[in-house]
Symmetry: C3
Subunit: 282 residues, 3 copies
């Protein structure tokens, strides 16, 4: 059996769980993290007491950096392991869960990192320290984990196109203005704000909480598993294009998926034409 510990689950109280995400050095989303999230969802769905779960990162620089392109086809020998194409099912479990999920955002969350946060019911972001992006188009592919789908529902068509076609880094204030996150909160207040929110929700009765979420699910616009499946397969298609592969390989040479300037400043780095101009353009 594989031995991994990407997630540390703490029951702050029986009704309020906290999940610490840790996959050094940059918190890549990889097959082991996927497996552990699937197991977390099993636990959340079968527990009788839990009402709210908070996901946060152990890494102050990265909430979840993005997808680990190098290990996409790995299927670890561990409980919860699933092929990449099970992602739409997994995130739909979050939206349908009887538990309220809250992403507490510090550091960078790009691509599938942003999409994991979007899969959570609520997002509170550090005003100074959260950085959000859907950089896929700049990488040569398209968002495959729900970026276009969730953002279309939350921020409207024009801002989704700006985010997705520009691939730029966004700070928390802009993300709040657009509706990408619920709120941008001064970093010094973020922990207390989220803890207070979670304790408050946990103190309410479970039945009305669950029914309220179901009523919102009935009415709100958000992507279905089938719609997410479509985006996921569109991504898989783009990643086979030769020009996309060449661009991704160049990015890896430049530090993509490693700790360093490329991952720290990806928004700016994707816009440096000189780094890519010798590559095939289609």
């Amino acid at each position: 059996m594989a031995d991994s510990k990407r997630l540390t689950i703490t029951k702050v109280t029986p009704a309020y769980w906290s999940v610490l995400i840790d996959n050094p050095p940059i918190n890549l989303y990889d097959p082991e993290m996927f497996a552990e999230i699937n197991m977390l969802l099993d636990d959340l769905e079968s527990d009788e007491d839990v009402k709210v779960v908070v996901l946060e990162s152990a890494n102050p620089e990265f909430w979840v950096a993005h997808y680990d392109f190098a290990r996409a086809d790995v299927m670890p020998d561990m409980p919860g392991a699933a092929p990449f194409t099970e992602w739409p099912h997994m995130v739909s479990r979050f939206s349908q869960a009887r538990v309220l999920s809250v992403a507490k955002l510090r550091g960078r969350l790009r691509g599938q990192g942003s999409e994991l946060a979007l899969a959570c019911d609520i997002r509170f972001a550090s005003k100074e320290k959260a950085v959000l992006a859907q950089p896929e188009v700049g990488v040569g592919v398209v968002p495959g984990g729900g970026g276009t789908e969730w953002l279309s529902a939350l921020v409207g068509r024009s801002r989704t196109l700006e985010i997705v076609c520009g691939g730029e880094d966004f700070d928390a204030d802009t993300a709040e203005r657009y509706g990408w996150v619920n709120r941008s909160i001064p970093d010094v207040d973020l922990d207390e704000f989220v803890d207070r929110f979670a304790r408050r929700v946990a103190s309410f009765l479970k039945q009305p909480l669950e029914l309220a979420k179901k009523l919102v699910n009935l009415q709100a616009i958000y992507p279905s598993e089938a719609q997410l499946w479509n985006g996921n397969h569109a991504f898989l298609g783009t990643s086979a294009w030769p020009a996309s592969q060449a661009r991704l390989e160049r990015l890896v040479e430049l530090g993509f998926m490693q700790h360093g300037d490329m991952e720290l400043n990806m928004g700016a780095r994707l816009g440096l034409e000189a780094d890519f101009e010798d590559l095939p353009s289609d």
Copy 2:
């Protein structure tokens, strides 16, 4: 015949009506207010001249506090009286009316108070004095008057879940940022702003105004009467749960539905776990 005077209707001009809501001490929404709103809608629908109606409160502390749980089953002997389950029909009359309805918000509007404002076409709120909440989950029930439905359409899924599952008080600036109200306006300017807006609308031709509202109704996302009916009946179901009844009874002991700290500071009070921890949890 019952004698009540919850609403005072003033024809500022034939095209611009003002409605003053007054039900001391905290402007509870009760069966008499319901009956009078139904009669107001009859008048608005049959009048040839009216183009815009402004709803405001006579009580600086409360716009409309919330539903009067103690008098839910009362059917007053007065014109317009209707069972509680007619609410979805009533609010749909606002959205379909040939008249533009504007809620001028000062003081607290929680639960059905917020939902009456949401049923109006436009909401302008006092920056310093408006307080909005959907506290139902904290009370032990779920929103029954359109809170989940209207908010899902206006502020998106994630912020609706924060509002509804957190049950917290919101100020006007946050409500504006979320889209719960059209605008947050400094209190000193609010009256003039709304009066100017209403006079302006009243000076335009009635036919284009009506057609423009119909075109928006054709395209915009907002809850149908059937969708509101569903939320209304979900609420009625929750209010029968024993744990919910116990919580509501405790709240009444603590001042719910009376003038005092509980109604003034309900957001904070619902989060005081010590007040509820001896109650059944499901």
Copy 3:
């Protein structure tokens, strides 16, 4: 053949085109401009290299003032000429185009000017110099070019009703808060911001850009050509109403469609009841 030059197309690079709109004195949208935009779309659709197009105005006071009511029935003898009712088809070509369209907004854009900007995928507006309005109801008609349809999708029902039934001028900050524009940007930074965004997009691969836009189109809410057709014909109906015609004639007497105070300050001028009170009210 008619000789007009409303649009000047510059290929900043093969992948990044700039379109300068110029129709002195106030940049009215007229049949010649329509014909040239149709030809622009032909060029954009057939070009192999273009990825992004920026539309801006040569006139610092007006981006596109609005529809030229005086020349609605003119069919110029020039390529691209089309009847007014082809507008819904034209704007749908923008939303479906494989190219990303960006409106850089300085000066006034009201009515069909706002609607041409709404037809573009993305809108960046000068904080100090952009003025947006859908003044049609104040003119006596209804928006016919997608105003109700696009705004319903972008800013929600309540704010659409405020914009459309109030007919007021909006500054860029308020338009940003509502979602009418993507961003309000200090005027001194606007050119560089938009140029940087366009160059960035142009440096990305064309295939992922196109697919990303298609994925957003699949999921986002925005008006179909059929829905825009309906609004267009509603407008044509209102413009035949006698009271509407009388109001429009009065507006022309007061300077509508000419350079001067009416066009510069239309928001305020439409609210001056004394100018219209002797006219028929229906």
